[in-house]
Subunit: 87 residues, 2 copies
């Protein structure tokens, strides 16, 4: 069992109204010094079996076709934790 | 300038219908071997000035009071990249 994290963020050139709303609210709430906020999605996938190159390629494909809209979004795939074989 | 990332995920004991919907759709789409999916939010904050302990404490407070609902959500704060002083 391993956890693979897929982060999906809007591309830098795409307007992010959610992030802007957060950023504009911050000074009002007393938090200064944050010049930009972008909001995206984080998917945590629990993968059965080993996370080898084939599994990662499959997850990459999954993220590209299903989790992200690659016209407007970028994504990254990261292996976050690999439990011991005994588990 | 530095980028600080705040990841906000539903607590493990809280039902995640979005993640479940993704997980259930995967076999239909030809992706087997993923036993669980959780979906959360990722905030990328561009911080002016140095990211020292005081700044991180402030961002922690911001995440706790504003970005996450700590009744149902957990969050993590990570410094992702620190640009050179020359920038």
């Amino acid at each position: 069992m391993a956890r693979v994290v897929v982060d999906v963020m809007l591309k830098p050139e795409i307007l992010d109204p959610q992030g802007q709303a957060v950023q504009r609210a911050l000074p009002r709430l007393g938090f200064e010094g944050i010049s930009d906020v972008r909001q995206g999605k984080r998917f945590e996938l629990e993968v059965d079996g080993p996370v080898d190159d084939a599994a990662l390629a499959r997850i990459h494909e999954l993220a590209e076709t299903f989790l992200a809209n690659t016209v407007i979004e970028d994504f990254t795939v990261k292996v976050e934790e690999v439990a011991e074989a005994a588990k």
